[in-house]
Amino acid sequence: MSVQTDDAPPPVRSTPRTTPPGTRPYADDRPGGPKQTTGRLPYLLLLPALAATAVLLGWPLVMNGLLSFQNLNMTQLIQHVTDWAGTDNYRATLGSEDFWRVTLRSVLFTAVNVAVIMLFGTLTGLLLARLGPRMRLLLSSGLVLAWAMPVIAATTVYQWLFAQRFGVVNWVLDAVGIHSMAGFNWTGGQIPTFFVISLLIVWTSVPFVAINLYAATTTIPKELYEAAALDGASARQSFATVTLPFLRPFLLVMTFLEVIWIFKAFPHIFAINEGGPDRLTETLPVYAFVEGVGNQHYGTGAAISVLTIVILLGLMSYYLRAAMRQEEDEK
């Protein structure tokens, strides 16, 4: 993976971006910065962490790659036979309509959810910044409660909220006059199921964006607003010229992170309805799981997961570039 790390852009945290990339060396490498430590000590200290990661994360990755070139179904699995299949799995996967449909669905699912999360999260974060201390405490405790709910507990609660019989959502919809929703089966169709999953994902993800964004607004120097006010800027103008440019790097990094997280979201989708009904809510990770483990096409499942990882790495390289920029200023 090629990730540029050497063009250290200027600090994101303290000042808005002004210097063009590539003009400043890594802060600590400049003469006068901390001395270069020589010797083996740092590598020795890092060895346990790197070794553990290489063995327990690296090996499954390699294994995954190997399996994706094998014809591996229940028979081979039980008999411990290695049956090489060349690129058959990839050809079958890339040639199947299902795979592309699921990929498209994953992309749409990710795009919609991330857009909603970022918009809603940003507005909530800005609202937090406007509130008085007591209301802020109240709202942020509510956000933290939602944020801290373990995924499986949250999915279970959502299943209950949206239960066909005695679910509170159907009751409310009925009570406000939409009587056709009284006994609605939310997991009976693709769109309603996705709606429940998305609501769950948005509910658990917005707090992260909102709280982080609020934290970021508190670091904006007051002088910038004073200067803007002196120049006669209206509230809207000072928002556009001070707040927004300051928050842009945060928004960027958080968007990337959310894209990656939502794209590989598994438990939310799987625990709500296992990708159903009729496999209509499978996104790539769920598809890889259902094909591989559920339908016992282990080799095909591995190929799908390799393809998923490739897509994720592409997304990550964007994120890492942005993250490394922040990294440089935190020195």
Partner: protein, 299 residues
């Protein structure tokens, strides 16, 4: 007109609307709407959590009803009793606690060394190593379960807590390294140096001076490790088929199948599962947020 206070001292929203004829009302509105919105949002975010506890404490007659009961008038602990008495429950609690705590402690131990090296030393390959941890932190464990299953099966370790613990350790390790590094870097270098001048060795300086200062950071960092390991679901789903060796998330996800539409018991089980995390999170909230922004990660 005595409305002096706007919600924030910064950009004055009042000015934007001051062109309107009815100034007073506009000002009151500018103060009211953020609070009103905040209340609505608060309700929206808290409601599912509230509904979980609410249902867990309600007698069945209040759950299976055509009109929802908004507040448990006759609270009962029956559902908790059902959940706790469920088959294997205590074994599963023990499994979950063991695996989670072991993974977090192991990751912390390994990560401390790495974080120290990354925060305090400059050496060739440092940036690539940081990058490696960043990538590893986002590893798609969910899609690698087949390979993990094969590896664990070939090692003859299915239905054991050992591979789970090891994998969870590595799952939380990158995050632990990256956040701890931030906390180590925040300890002034001078403290360490003066301890070394006073005759401490490097190790001693670390143990006596830096480590105590890291305690809050260690706690905040371990929170995220704790959440990750406590929640993990796909891996235990495929590795540990034997009921005795499973963990709570798996049990909870299958609870409904086992108990049919016993929503009271299901919500009691969900509450029992969520409470430790909710408490930890509320307790460590502030530190957690600062740790998050420095590590840019989620639990």
């Amino acid at each position: 007109m005595t409305a002096t206070a706007t919600p924030v001292g910064r950009p004055r929203p009042v000015r934007a609307v001051s062109r309107r004829p009815r100034r007073g009302r506009a000002r009151v509105w500018a103060r009211v709407w953020p609070n009103a919105t905040a209340l609505v949002l608060f309700a929206g975010f808290v409601f599912p959590v509230y509904w979980m506890f609410n249902t867990a404490f309600k007698p069945n007659s209040d759950i299976v009803t055509d009109t929802p009961v908004w507040f448990p008038s006759r609270p009962t602990l029956d559902h908790f009793a059902t959940a706790v008495r469920a088959e294997n429950f205590l074994t599963l609690v023990r499994n979950s606690v063991t695996v989670t705590l072991l993974a977090v402690v192991l990751a912390l131990l390994i990560a401390l060394f790495a974080a120290f090296a990354l925060a305090r030393m400059r050496f060739a390959g440092r940036k690539s190593i940081i990058l490696t941890f960043m990538v590893a932190q986002m590893a798609p464990w969910e899609v690698m379960v087949i390979a993990i299953y094969m590896t664990v099966r070939d090692a003859d370790m299915l239905n054991s807590l050992v591979p789970l613990t090891l994998f969870y350790t590595v799952m939380v390790l990158p995050l632990t390294v990256l956040t701890l590094r931030g906390y180590v870097a925040a300890v002034p270098k001078e403290l360490e140096e003066s301890a070394m001048v006073d005759g401490c060795g490097r190790t001693q300086a670390f143990r006596r001076v830096i480590f105590p200062l890291l305690a809050p950071g260690v706690m905040a960092t371990s929170l995220f490790g704790f959440i990750t390991a406590w929640n993990e679901f796909p891996m235990v789903l495929i590795l540990n088929k034997d009921a005795q060796s499973q963990t709570l998330p798996l049990w909870l996800s299958g609870f409904q199948t086992a108990f049919g539409d016993d929503w009271g018991a299901t919500m009691a089980a969900a509450s029992l599962f969520a409470v430790p995390i909710l408490l930890l999170f509320l307790y460590l909230q502030r530190k957690a947020v600062s740790g998050l922004t420095s590590g840019a990660v989620k639990g």
